[in-house]
């Protein structure tokens, strides 16, 4: 029996986290895993800190990742890479989109955005993989594919054949955006390989 894998997605409401976690979930299912995913809707989505929790294995019971047991975190914003530190363990990997989105207290000049925030992770010995998803998405010609870059970056660390992903993206993304999303996925893979 395979142990259950735990992937934590974190970021800011509106960044496309739900779609990225969906594409990853479909790919795990297509690769023959059981999976469960938990997300929160409603008030939390209005520009606040959001997460999606994805678990996969032979049979998954709980939809929630236990603190200290997230194997991979995919963070869409730098500070949101650090906010969920208690969910990580010393062998966790954190894939970070090196983007800063200012929370209200920073935007209004009340506090400063923390300097060198990712040091809080590396200081604990956690492996951090930085990806400039926005720039890579711009490179492929569509800035809205930043979340697909992150899916690609994550895919390197999952037991799924890239061909499965390509099939899933082909099936889930509208035809006219398919090519650019596949390019974004490939850029993400390169960035974390």
């Amino acid at each position: 029996m395979r142990t259950t894998g735990n992937i934590l997605f974190s970021g800011v409401g509106g960044q496309g986290i739900l779609l990225a976690s969906e594409i990853t979930a479909y790919s795990l299912l297509a690769a023959g895993f059981d999976a469960k995913k938990s997300e929160v809707h409603g008030m939390a989505q209005r520009g606040g800190s959001v997460t999606a929790q994805l678990r996969y294995g032979d049979r998954v019971y709980s939809p929630l990742i236990e603190p200290g047991r997230a194997d991979i975190q995919v963070a869409f914003e730098m500070m949101e890479a650090v906010r969920y530190l208690p969910y990580l363990h010393k062998d966790s990997k954190v894939i970070v989109n090196t983007q800063r989105i200012l929370p209200p207290s920073v935007a209004t000049g009340k506090t400063a955005y923390p300097e060198e925030v990712l040091d809080k992770l590396t200081g604990q010995g956690i492996e951090v993989v930085c990806v400039d998803a926005f720039e890579l998405a711009r490179k492929v010609g569509e800035v809205r594919t930043a979340n697909m870059v992150m899916v690609g970056a994550l895919s390197v660390f999952l037991p799924i054949d890239p061909a499965v992903y390509e099939q899933v993206i082909g099936a889930r993304v509208p035809a006219k955006f398919r090519e650019v999303n596949l390019l974004a996925f490939a850029e993400g893979r390169k960035a974390s390989s």
């Binding site: 800011v12 409401g13 969906e22 979930a25 479909y26 299912l29 297509a30 059981d34 999976a35 469960k36 995913k37 938990s38 997300e39 929160v40 809707h41 409603g42 008030m43 939390a44 989505q45 209005r46 520009g47 606040g48 800190s49 998954v60 019971y61 709980s62 939809p63 929630l64 236990e66 603190p67 200290g68 500070m79 949101e80 650090v82 906010r83 530190l85 208690p86 990580l88 363990h89 200012l102 929370p103 209200p104 207290s105 920073v106 935007a107 209004t108 000049g109 506090t111 955005y113 923390p114 925030v117 809080k120 604990q124 889930r172």
Partner: protein
């Protein structure tokens, strides 16, 4: 909804319930949006052969479903946990009438209050209303249990409560397609006054029937497959239900478990036999000690809330360390970071109203919706929030308590959908009993917080087809409000003048703040010309910053930077608009006195 294979799909609990309702042959479904229940009807409305609607509130929604059941078809009502408080009145008597077609009421509870004002445990309603309750653990069970709920409803002639929680509603999992079923009743008019007319003499007879039904249901609970024993080590045995079952299976995979798919009424003989088969018995449930109290009342010794928290959501780690404190994990400490609370969107019309109210030295009686976020800094313009519709009577009650001098001190703020839900009766009271409190109706043309659902004032039905739209202004005049104002909240200074005029009146007044939600599809596709900062003109007054708009940020100057960049020495910094985030509402431009905020091409 996503197909994995011909038989199975990847569905959220709410999508699974919609599929279950379709497979159960539901013909009529009604409800009011509320997290985490909303997506049930949003998905069910896409199936053929089932009539769905958004009702103005949960009481109406349940009454519609009761009517459909009386007419001999299967009917579903959906709501969030607090919605069942609103619908409790019909529920308690529908328990006496029963129906003809199956009647199921979904209550979506929100432990942890992810998007709610309380975390009440609605299993208590099953006990109080004397109706059966089913409680699935995941999306696959949610679909199967919903079909079982309809079968039980018809067999026992009772409404069935169906309790889900956030971690069932908004969890996705693999769900298998099933067979189509149909009601055992036939659609038509059948007059059964002994059952349907609950005047006292008849109700007393039905009261007896209710008791007999619940005895019969208790016997069924003993043999229903949804109440099952999973064999395991006899050292520790767990009785659990709902999502808590999943956490128990992960925390104690080898233990014996009695999983209760039906959490009311309880299978007493099965519980006794299970308790006798294990050395120590643990009851694991989220929120109230519901199972525990009833099991203890059977005279069975057990652990429960002496170990397991009665607040918030549970998870595997909480259960494991509550029962085995030696298993408490050593975790990395949390890092102190600036918080990132939810915020109103860039271009949200509510912001203009709260920006003004924050400066007006009034008590702001708030309500339930996106605008509850007006509480957060920098606006900090909300002084109370209790429940749907409460803003209006609370303002009236405060005005009455404080007397004449308070006519210009109290305002109520409510959204268009919440006003339809339960604000109108409050306004009738304000007029009838005459207080000078001012009601501000934030009419953004949609039920926004739950994700853009139509309502009786929005002009469309649940499927997005055209429907009659209530004229809110005419409605307010019809109930007797003589002073009704309509403002564009994006014009901040002009709105301030109207608010001041309305609040100063010594008679009831209403200000309708009318501007569409920026998340409406038609707002998203519009070609906007975003605002930007002419930084040469910015004097660093922070007027725009105080709006708290996510698209506007402050850059502080370093020592000597102001002079070096040609600003006054005393200037502390400049503001900047992120043109990608800007939704072109113009509130900031209406506040800027230095022509520093302008639209491109002007």
């Amino acid at each position: 909804m996503v197909k994995i294979s011909d038989e199975s799909m990847w569905l959220s609990g709410n999508e699974a319930i919609a599929l279950g309702a379709f497979e159960a042959g539901v013909r009529v479904a009604s409800g009011y949006p509320g997290t985490p229940s909303t997506e049930i009807l949003e998905n069910l409305c896409r199936y053929d052969g089932v009539y769905t609607e958004w009702a103005p509130n949960e009481k109406v929604g349940l009454e519609v479903a009761i009517g459909a059941s009386f007419a001999g078809v299967r009917a579903l009502a959906t709501m969030k946990h607090v919605g069942l408080n609103v619908a409790a009145d019909p529920l308690f008597t529908a328990s006496y009438t029963g129906g003809r077609g199956g009647l199921v009421v979904v209550t979506a509870d929100d432990p942890e209050m992810h998007s709610s004002q309380n975390e009440q445990d609605n299993r208590n309603y099953a006990f109080a209303a004397k109706v059966p309750m089913l409680e699935p653990s995941d999306p696959a069970e949610a679909k199967e249990f919903l079909k079982l709920a309809f079968a039980l409803s018809e067999e026992l002639d009772t409404p069935v409560l169906f309790r889900i929680t956030t971690r069932v509603s908004h969890v996705k999992g693999v769900v298998k397609k099933g067979k189509m079923e149909a009601s055992s009743a036939a659609a038509g008019i059948e007059k059964v006054p002994g059952k349907f007319v609950m005047l006292p003499a008849l109700a007393r007879k039905r009261r007896v029937a209710v008791e007999q039904r619940m005895l019969k249901c208790r016997d069924m609970a003993e043999i229903l497959p949804c109440n099952r024993v999973e064999k395991g080590s006899s050292n520790r045995g767990f009785i659990t239900s709902g999502v808590s079952y999943l956490y128990v299976k992960e925390a104690f995979p080898d233990a014996a478990v009695l999983k209760l798919g039906m959490c009311w009424p309880l299978p007493e003989a099965k519980i006794r036999a299970f308790a006798a088969s294990v050395e120590e018995l643990y009851i694991v449930e989220e929120l109230d000690p519901f199972l525990e109290l009833h099991i203890k009342a059977m005279g069975i010794a057990c652990h429960g809330k002496d170990l397991i928290p009665n607040q918030g959501e549970l998870n595997t780690a909480i259960i494991r360390s509550a029962i085995d404190p030696s298993q408490t994990p050593d975790l990395f400490p949390a890092v102190d970071l600036p918080p990132r609370p939810p915020n109103m969107c860039p271009g949200c019309p509510h912001r203009g109203i709260f920006f003004n109210l924050a400066k007006m030295k009034v008590f702001i009686s708030g309500d339930i919706g996106c605008y509850t976020l007006g509480f957060l800094p920098p606006l900090s313009a909300l002084d109370s929030t209790v429940c749907m519709g409460a803003s209006v009577p609370i303002a009236h009650g405060m005005a009455k308590a404080l007397g004449e001098g308070a006519h210009d001190k109290i305002v109520a703020v409510i959204g268009d959908s919440t006003f339809m839900h339960s604000g109108i009766t409050g306004l009738i009271n304000t007029v009838y009993n005459n207080s000078a409190s001012t009601l501000i109706i934030l009419d953004n043309r949609i039920t926004a917080m739950t994700g853009q659902q139509q309502n009786p004032a929005s002009g469309c039905n649940i499927k997005g087809d055209p429907a009659f739209a209530i004229d809110i202004e005419a409605l307010c005049r019809a109930v007797g409000v003589r002073h009704v104002f309509v403002v564009n909240p994006h014009k901040v200074p002009e709105t301030r003048k109207v608010l001041e005029e309305a609040i100063a009146l010594t008679e009831p007044s209403v200000v309708i703040s009318r501007a569409p939600c920026v998340l409406l599809p038609e707002m998203k596709v519009r070609k906007t010309v975003t605002f930007y900062t002419q930084q040469d003109n910015c004097v660093g007054c922070m007027s725009c910053i105080r709006l708290g708009c996510p698209a506007i940020s402050w850059t502080a100057f370093a020592e000597g930077e102001a002079e070096a960049r040609g600003y006054k020495k005393s200037q502390k910094g400049i503001s900047r608009i992120d043109e990608i985030l800007c939704n072109a509402c113009g509130q900031c431009a209406s506040l800027c006195k230095f022509h520093a905020i302008t639209q491109e091409g002007e």
